[in-house]
């Protein structure tokens, strides 16, 4: 008694394999592997390099947002304005670069400042009023949706901003945000790199820094964590600004890559981010989850969305298959966890 006993008679021996399976990330990895196996087995193009590049591309921008949204969800909040904010930033980049003739980097910087301000506003309203973030960000979601359309029409007279490719500095921006790189002779989008980077940074922050500890604590029990001295309000605001920063990155990528931006870009995507985070093991009630899991959740979603197309299933039934695949992914994830639960610590 009393000393840290490594070989405790109260602990049964458990294989490494089962211990690994129980981590949230590995749960969703199973979901991803099931989906991958499913589509790869049936479509040769899906498993070809060009196919992989294609679905990785879909997963990448979704993944950047999903990772940020996962952090926010672990911290106990939702951000319904995240999707439309990608549109706001993309439109801002376009309007500043095209209408005001600024260098594209200036435009991106302006969009960044704007995004962070909106994120801070969201966080401030949530912490200040104590109202659920769901309702606060729903209000900002609606307001931004209106702003996107209203301002775009005001500045361009149409519902799109175009001609971003002609802005000064476009080529360097394209290199950083929208170029491709070659692996085994196949071109991959650079957004994939951003996605991996975002996942790595988020994982590091979550598991290895004080701030990460505060995120888990704030989401797990805000009152208790405030009682032991965690700056819960600051943590929450920072998380909202993180989501906004991710939206800024994704919006800039969109603007630079497509070179013209629609006023309703991003609307409705917020739910998909949340879905990816939840597939990845995040609890909706906060306090639990992982960034890698969210990235894998985005991968599941991206593969499913493209896989259905590769199998050439009837487009009318697209959403049916999407839902069924989603269920398949989470159920297989859960089945594996049940099996591994014997290793639960």
């Amino acid at each position: 008694m009393g000393r840290p006993a490594r070989a405790d008679e109260r602990v049964a021996a458990v294989g490494l394999w089962r211990r690994l399976l129980v981590k949230p990330e590995l749960g969703s990895l199973i979901g991803a592997v099931v989906i991958l196996a499913f589509f790869s087995a049936q479509s040769q193009v899906f498993r070809s390099l060009s196919g992989i590049a294609n679905w990785l591309d879909v997963a990448s921008t979704l993944g950047i947002m999903a990772v940020a949204v996962a952090l926010l969800m672990i911290g106990g909040h939702f951000d319904l304005s995240a999707g439309v904010l990608t549109g706001t930033t993309a439109l801002t980049v376009g309007i500043v670069a095209v209408r005001f003739g600024q260098n594209i980097w200036v435009a991106i910087a302006v969009a960044g400042v704007l995004a962070l301000a909106i994120g801070a506003l969201n966080g401030w309203l949530v912490t200040r009023t104590g109202l659920p973030s769901f309702i606060i960000t729903l209000a900002t979601f609606l307001m931004l949706q209106g702003l996107n359309l209203g301002l775009t029409k005001l500045f361009t007279g149409t519902v799109q901003v175009r001609g971003i490719a002609e802005a000064p500095g476009y080529h360097s921006a394209e290199l950083v945000l929208a170029s491709t790189f070659s692996v085994f002779g196949q071109q991959f989008r650079i957004a994939v790199v951003w996605w991996l980077l975002a996942t790595a940074v988020a994982t590091y922050v979550l598991l290895r820094t004080r701030f990460g500890n505060w995120v888990f604590a704030t989401g797990g029990d805000e009152v208790a964590s405030r009682n032991v001295g965690v700056p819960a309000a600051r943590t929450t605001i920072t998380l909202f600004m993180t989501t906004a920063a991710a939206a800024w990155l994704v919006g800039s990528i969109t603007a630079v890559r497509l070179t013209s931006v629609q006023a309703n870009t991003g609307t409705g995507q917020e739910l998909i981010y949340i879905v990816a985070a939840v597939i990845g093991g995040c609890l909706l009630t906060g306090g639990f989850g992982s960034a890698i899991g969210a990235a894998l959740g985005a991968l599941v979603f991206g593969m499913t969305q493209q896989g259905i197309v590769y199998l050439r299933w009837d487009a009318d039934w697209f959403y049916f298959f999407l839902g069924a695949m989603l269920l398949l992914a989470v159920l297989s994830n859960r089945a594996v966890r049940r099996y591994a639960e014997a290793a639960r610590r």
């Binding site: 149409t158 519902v159 629609q262 493209q306």
Partner: protein, 305 residues
């Protein structure tokens, strides 16, 4: 305040209109920010400006909401209502209420066949199916057989009609593909994967001007030589037609679908004139391709074509 149900003849002083000016309401089924309906809205507002009448534009894709918006306009006792009828049955009640209130109605876009039945004083535009047929015939004439029709909003009736029309014009069924208009990057990847999965596709027909350039990029990503055609115009489509990456665009001249009904309502209000003699006033479809693109390039960029 309450709508005066007795006013049979048009009167200049409806409840909502200020100091005797005419006030018209436009209620369409387009969703907010939709490129096609944005041009209709512009046409209507421009007509209002030009003619010195008040025009209030509202839209909602949900038929029940659209009928409620019409009822709101009836409550305001406007001097005329412009309605797009993607789903005529659902609007029947509200339009009857308008008629009871003595408010003249002009129908636009789809619903030409029911227009007279509902007591409208005229119809501007034509069914999306006819526009679709135009596109299909053109593709057939170019020898295309395996056409992909990109639907950017699941279950939207107007889009389905365009694809159906294309099938009729082509003489064989087009293949449908669903994408999300709000996620164009994802849409590009999805079109790419479809082209990768089925190399026999020789034409892609998009239903929104924003999707056309995306489809062109997707084709080049997938190494496909499929022809790209689209409905509706914007600056990007014009540029793409000029550059040859998009072969043609079906132009419904929907600006007129916004502008003309206001003119018709004003004429009716002031002079009891009607237009079309019980038949639809057709606004298209016109085809914009490399031959005539330059003449309308600036207009499309300004968002009026």
């Amino acid at each position: 305040g309450e709508s005066e149900t007795t006013a049979a003849a048009p009167s200049g002083g409806g409840g909502g209109a200020a100091d005797g000016d005419l006030q018209f309401a436009v209620v369409t089924h387009g969703s907010a920010g939709d490129a096609f309906w944005d041009v209709v809205q512009k046409g209507a507002l421009k007509a209002g400006d030009d003619l010195g009448v008040g025009v209030d534009y509202q839209s909602d894709g949900d038929p029940q909401r659209q009928s409620q918006l019409i009822e709101a306009a009836v409550n305001e006792d406007v001097d005329g209502i412009v309605v797009s009828m993607a789903n005529p049955d659902a609007l029947e009640d509200s339009l009857a209420a308008a008629r009871t209130a003595g408010i003249p109605v002009v129908t636009i876009n789809s619903g030409a066949d029911r227009s007279v039945e509902f007591g409208a004083i005229g119809h501007v535009g034509q069914d999306e199916t006819i526009a679709g047929q135009g596109a299909g015939q053109r593709l057939a004439a170019e020898g295309r057989k395996n056409v992909l029709c990109v639907v950017h909003e699941a279950g939207n009736i107007g889009l389905e009609q365009r694809c159906d029309g294309a099938s009729q014009g082509l003489g064989t069924d087009v293949r449908l593909l669903q994408v999300d208009i709000n996620d164009l990057q994802g849409a590009q990847s999805t079109i790419t994967s479809q082209l990768q999965a089925d190399p026999s596709i020789d034409a892609v027909l998009t239903l929104n001007s924003a999707v056309a350039p995306i489809a062109a990029s997707a084709a080049s990503d997938a190494g496909s030589t499929a022809e790209i055609a689209t409905f509706d115009l914007n600056g990007d489509v014009i540029a793409a037609i000029q550059a040859g990456t998009v072969s043609f665009a079906v132009d419904q001249q929907q600006y007129e679908q916004g502008y003309l009904p206001i003119v018709m309502l004003k004429l009716y209000a002031e002079n009891l004139n009607t237009v079309g003699g019980g038949r639809a006033v057709l606004t298209g479809p016109g085809i914009v391709d490399a031959e005539n693109v330059d003449t309308i390039a600036d207009l499309a960029s300004a968002g009026t074509r």
